[in-house]
């Protein structure tokens, strides 16, 4: 069986950043992704990023993706695409499907940068064609240039719901309404203001009750919620729509970490069960690192920093960097991560991340 030094699983922002750092340190790194193109979610993010200039703020997501790809090419990172990794065995043998057959490779160190998956809601009609994740709709319009429908109901007012609503408008769809179960909008005010100005009504304290239609979506029924989040009888509204998008949060894709026997902590603010890890992003399984949304759902900017961190820590563990050099590099990253985790949303995440590090250190869930 072929043996390699480092395998990075997932070529999104975290995985790309990790592979780049390892290649810079002269590591022999192979990057795997199940998609036919690397970049993860970056290539569907046509909006500009927030933050300071060192975090590539003001740059559009897909341009960040292009930049990372150029760097991996320049550094000669071995990238294997169309290769879903479906098993990792205790001796760090990785099984992946590629060119229509199972292939296996053994790695000395592994970085899991598998990202997150969209949550779904179950309601009558939720399995009808036309009901989809907001991320799926975003992939359709921004990557494949296909409009999923003409009249859209968006569920969830977090940044994903707000941004995808705006991008659906840009792509030529009519966003009939955006509903939010909480009594306030979840995402940034600027994003909400943009879709409001475009005439999209935002109904807070509202939820979906059912979707009507036989073979496809023809309408959706929404209802207002009281202070205890219970439906208020008589407040039902029927909206004529052909598409219902759900932007109701993401959950870390942790299967491979479970398979490896990592210990987990349950942190709802980060999206659920998260593999415990230390300041080097190393899990409770020696030589297995995590970075990006698998360690808690955040943003591309933090995912890239965590990827760099895992890459550098991994390089250090392999003796590619000396203590001092690694320490300096890691410290810079931690400073940037702490800056990124500020503001009303960032603060909650920083608190949750600190909690995760604390739990990991204490060894209790």
């Amino acid at each position: 069986m072929k043996e390699i030094q480092i395998a990075v699983i997932g070529a999104g922002p975290a995985g790309l950043a990790a592979a780049i750092e390892l290649a810079k340190a002269q590591g022999n790194v192979t990057l795997f992704d199940e998609n036919t193109k690397p970049g993860g979610q970056l290539f569907k993010q046509i909006h500009k990023f927030f933050g300071s200039s060192e975090h590539l703020a003001g740059t559009r997501g897909y341009n960040i993706g292009k930049q990372l790809l150029r760097e991996t090419e320049k550094l000669g990172v071995n990238v294997i695409l169309d290769a879903p990794v479906y098993a990792i065995y205790p001796d760090k043998t990785i099984s992946y499907s590629h060119q229509n057959r199972e292939q296996a490779i053994k790695a000395e160190k592994i970085i899991l940068a598998t990202g997150a998956t969209e949550n779904a809601l179950a309601f009558p009609g939720s399995t009808l064609p036309g009901v989809m994740g907001a991320g799926a709709a975003q992939t359709m319009i921004n990557v494949h240039r296909v409009l999923p429908g003409k009249k859209v109901l968006m569920i969830g007012s977090g940044n994903v719901g707000l941004i995808v609503s705006y991008q659906l408008l840009q792509a030529g769809a009519d966003v009939v309404a955006l509903i939010e179960a909480a009594p306030q909008i979840g995402g940034y005010g600027v994003h909400a203001a943009k879709i409001r100005r475009a005439g999209v009504p935002i109904y807070i304290s509202h939820t979906i009750q059912k979707v009507m239609g036989k073979n496809e979506v023809v309408a959706a029924q929404i209802v207002q919620l009281d202070d205890n989040r219970q439906p208020i009888p008589g407040s039902e509204k029927i909206l004529e729509v052909d598409t219902v998008c759900m932007a109701v949060g993401l959950s870390p894709l942790t299967e491979l970490a479970w398979l490896m026997g990592c210990e987990f902590a349950y942190i709802p603010q980060l999206g659920g069960h998260i593999p415990k890890h230390n300041h080097n992003m190393e899990t409770t399984v020696s030589g297995l690192y995590v970075a990006g949304d698998i360690t808690g759902v955040e943003e591309a900017s933090t995912a890239m920093e965590e990827g760099r961190l895992a890459g550098i820590a991994c390089a250090q563990a392999l003796g590619l960097y000396d203590q001092e050099k690694a320490h300096t590099l890691k410290k810079e990253i931690w400073n940037r991560l702490n800056t990124l985790r500020t503001g009303p949303f960032g603060k909650i995440r920083k608190f949750a991340k600190d909690e995760l590090l604390k739990i990991s250190r204490e060894g209790t869930a």
Binding site: A87, Y89, P90, T93, S95, E102, A104
Partner: protein
């Protein structure tokens, strides 16, 4: 918290819950103790066969025949959908040598009353499509059946509770109390239970219970890995095994010298399809201690073997793999009955791969022995004392 019971059963798998059900049904006050959860061991990580044909003609087949009779009315008795289906089953034969052994096997099984016959390749295809054309033929029995083992396990537990049994989950035994060679009770992390009778139905973990009272129970965990496909339209006729499995089980000398990975892992085909449509592809029979992880070689050899026999399986997607620990005994027979010199201590373990098929009859035999002191058939050959003397 101190409690009292007529009988304490150790182990919440199909065997332990079956015993608890049949004893409770007869008015015994039973407490079942399980260190994890119901069906958390082998009963939740196995295939679903109630296959008679694989049983050695003799007491093993007698037990299976009696058990299969009980299955016919079990769903009603438990008032629980255990997904029982009398599908029939077949054993695929690959070589003239295997055919010879199987012919003898089948004749001896027939003598004990099993409806079973040998089919040629063409006839076999009528029951199961997609068979590789290198096959010589197969056996066929209309009496084979299958059941959802997890639902069976939960069904026994639920029905036992209706008869007043108490089931303590996440409860670990710390000590077994014995006085003057008589069982007095046991201590758990949740308190003391006083009882004159303890039944060790802990499957592959039975030896660790035995050690608490100085018994050396010769059961060893034998790992069985199983690969599971996505749900597909009906494809598998019922229970499909390969003769290699039977021959390896009863005539191991025929394969002893082989160096192949499949033989070392004890790979033999065991195929069935769940009600939902997932195909269970088994299995390995390997000694790997108490390790229940799947191995790449294990998965690979199982799939190589299955697709060699039924090439169409290659078209199906695999969604997961599981592994369970079958309780192996040196002579392939379970340990059922009281332990000499230790009044009140019973064993009901060591069924290896036959736990599902034999659960009802095991429950009945143990309940008979405890309430009546005897059972409907001669079970001396199963006595644990054959190893413990």
């Amino acid at each position: 918290m101190n409690q009292k019971a007529d009988v304490v059963v150790i182990g919440g798998g199909v065997i332990g819950t079956a015993i608890t059900f049949y004893l409770s049904q007869r008015g015994q006050k039973v407490i079942l103790i399980e260190k994890n959860d119901l069906a958390s061991g082998a009963s939740g990580a196995c295939d679903q066969d109630i296959i008679l044909q694989s049983k050695n003609p003799g007491i093993h087949l007698q037990l299976a025949l009696a058990s299969s009779q009980m299955y016919k009315t079990l769903e009603k008795e438990l008032d629980y959908d255990i997904e029982y289906e009398n599908t029939g089953g077949m054993i695929l034969i690959e070589t003239p040598e295997e055919l010879k052994i199987m012919e003898d096997f089948v004749n001896r099984q027939k003598a004990l009353g099993l409806q079973v016959e040998i089919l040629n390749y063409k006839e076999a295809l009528r029951y199961q499509r997609g068979l590789s054309n290198h096959l010589v033929g197969s056996t066929y029995s209309p009496q084979d059946a299958h059941v959802n083992p997890i639902r069976l396990n939960l069904g026994f537990a639920q029905a036992a509770r209706r008869y007043g049994a108490e089931i303590l989950l996440e409860t670990e035994i710390t000590k077994i109390k014995v006085k003057n060679n008589q069982i007095e009770g046991l201590e758990t992390n949740r308190g003391t239970i006083y009882t004159p009778v303890i039944i060790n139905a802990a499957g592959a973990w039975a030896p660790s219970i035995g050690r608490m009272i100085g018994l050396k129970i010769p059961i060893k965990p034998r790992r069985g890995q199983i690969v599971i496909t996505e749900p597909v339209p009906p494809f598998v006729m019922g229970d499909v095994l390969s003769a290699r499995y039977i021959v390896a089980k009863y005539n191991p000398e025929l394969y002893n010298n082989s160096e192949s990975a499949a033989v070392k892992l004890g790979v033999g085909l065991s195929l069935s399809q769940t009600r939902k449509g997932n195909i269970l592809i088994g299995a390995t029979r390997e000694f790997a201690g108490y390790d229940i992880t799947n191995t790449r070689t294990g998965i690979k050899e199982i799939l190589k073997n299955a697709t060699r026999l039924i090439p169409e399986l290659k078209e199906m997607n695999i969604i997961r793999a599981i592994a369970g620990l079958r309780p192996y005994t040196p002579d392939g027979l379970p340990l059922l009955g009281p332990v000499n010199g230790l009044n009140g201590f019973y064993l009901a373990a060591g069924h290896e791969g036959d736990g599902i098929a034999l659960a009802p009859i095991t429950g009945k035999i143990i309940a008979d022995l405890i309430t009546d002191g005897k059972t409907f058939m001669d079970v001396t050959a199963l006595s644990p004392n054959r190893f413990l003397m």
